[in-house]
Symmetry: C2
Subunit: 314 residues, 2 copies
């Protein structure tokens, strides 16, 4: 992007991390910070697990598995296999090297360090140069009201493979949670906010629900990249979830969801016909190729999004 000022990207897991990596290729560590959703975090096997923080961290470190989309490349599964033999819970697959991240984070948290500082340490050890911030240091948990009762996020997402029908979603603890001071400071001086193509209900809304973050982000120049292309989610359960919530899965519906928050919205060429309807919601629209298949397409999309953001009417 042209001009000075720094950017804040909001990200969930896999889809968001792809654009975050593209943004990191365009902007140096002094120009970009990434905020990850922590409402998917959970305690499992006695460990503190932060799936979105880790997906972004591993992606930025160049260590993420490109096939699975989560966890580390070249991972092994000896511990999980042994745990399964012992009758332990193995539905949430933790690779052997990934386990070290959870062990170390859990130890540092138990010793009284905050999640922001712990994330900084882990990122430093893995060579991640861009600031990666948890949305909050307080506990927020996405809880899904489903036809099988209320389920914690990972139970719904991983153990039950998104099979239960979702009726409503709440972000337990979000109202009383505080954005990290580092995030508040950065938002006050940010040139803009980029909401990565992550699930609006499961990855982005929990961030927006923390304290007054929605208002703080709405006060900046904020744009989002649609995670829905051609009525389908590129990754994960976003499209199915929208249907269960009574919405037509489309980029337009995502834009409607973000109304009042965004100054600009990025949709795929496949959805170009929806551009005018999105504009009618009061947003500027960028129509481009949004499917990121390789490093080059991540960097290209990031550069286009940054140019779009900097060109928005003041």
């Amino acid at each position: 992007m042209s001009g000075s000022g720094h950017i804040i990207a909001l990200s969930g897991g896999v889809g968001g991390a792809k654009l975050a990596l593209g943004l990191a290729a365009c902007l140096g560590p002094d120009r970009l910070a990434i905020v990850a959703n922590t409402a998917d975090d959970f305690e499992h096997l006695g460990l503190s697990i932060c799936p979105d923080l880790d997906t972004v961290m591993y992606t930025l470190a160049g260590l993420a598995d490109p096939e699975r989309g989560w966890g580390l490349a070249g991972e092994t599964w000896q511990c999980m296999d042994a745990l399964s033999s012992l009758g332990g819970e193995s539905w949430f697959r933790l690779g052997d090297r990934d386990l070290a991240t959870h062990l170390q984070r859990s130890l540092l948290l138990a010793a009284g360090e905050g999640l922001a500082r712990v994330t900084q340490r882990l990122c430093g050890a893995l060579g991640v140069r861009h600031p990666l911030l948890p949305m909050s240091e307080q506990r927020v948990r996405t809880m899904l009201d489903t036809d099988q009762g209320e389920l914690a996020f990972q139970t719904y997402f991983v153990r039950e493979r998104c099979a239960p029908r979702v009726r409503a979603i709440r972000y337990e603890g979000a109202e009383s949670a505080l954005p990290t001071p580092a995030l508040i400071g950065r938002l006050e001086t940010a040139a803009g906010v980029v909401i990565c193509p992550s699930n609006p209900w499961l990855s982005v809304d929990p961030i927006l629900a923390v304290g007054d973050l929605r208002e703080r982000i709405a006060a900046t120049r904020a744009v989002a990249v649609s995670p829905i292309v051609g009525g389908r989610a590129l990754k994960g359960p976003a499209a199915a979830l929208m249907e269960q919530l009574g919405l037509v899965p489309s980029a337009l519906e995502v834009a409607r969801h973000y109304r009042g928050l965004l100054r600009g919205f990025v949709i795929d060429r496949e959805d170009a016909a929806q551009a005018d309807a999105v504009r009618a919601l009061g947003m500027e629209v960028l129509v481009t190729d949004t499917i990121m298949v390789d490093a080059a397409s991540k960097t290209r999309l990031a550069a286009e999004v940054l140019a779009f953001l900097s060109g928005l009417r003041a």
Copy 2:
């Protein structure tokens, strides 16, 4: 052994586990229980680690690494390597499959189960048929007064590689700890107790120090196999430790240490010249080959020890 009645073996780690395996080859699960030292247990990386229980468990399950003497055969070290990269503590090497044992045990303990029940579950999952009992469910910790200050056992043994000079040893918590009810019941009806060739000060004394276990064991027919052969410890720091405590490392000195407790003592042919001096302490003596190099020699020594025990004067 001839006759009915069941045997209780007391064991520390590697050396003791070898004879325990031999005993298990001679006696069925209804005739043999093994009691392991738990004063080496410690909390590390947020996990509850029980080295002696696990060494015996893995040995009886046929899963122990025959070269290292501890841990699992065919183990991998991905998690430790990653933890080291993250700046975590990796001086206590936990293999990837071994980690599953500690994760599962820690979870079950945190859920309120006792160590005896947790050990039973783990043994069941690994196919161990003989009862393996912790000496106590209460916390006992071997603490070493050294020229580098007081050190917890694993700090002395693993992190500092037994380099500090030991001046005194205490078993923190032992006096107020209780033997498990299962152990008390078994001792009351036992045909005898076999103290495996484990370190008297670091592996066996902590067991004897639990509540009134010394008196209860002295009231049975108890024998020990010397862990010192030809003035050397077959494994571990027993000989060096004896010197630091002002003792000459010898089978005779070990027998002196156990005076008042044992009815019989087993020494190696190499130490045959010490037999009369041991007898003068009021013990019967078996002189035989005590170095266990393979499964056959473990079983042979176990059978000889059992025959010796059953032939002791009533």
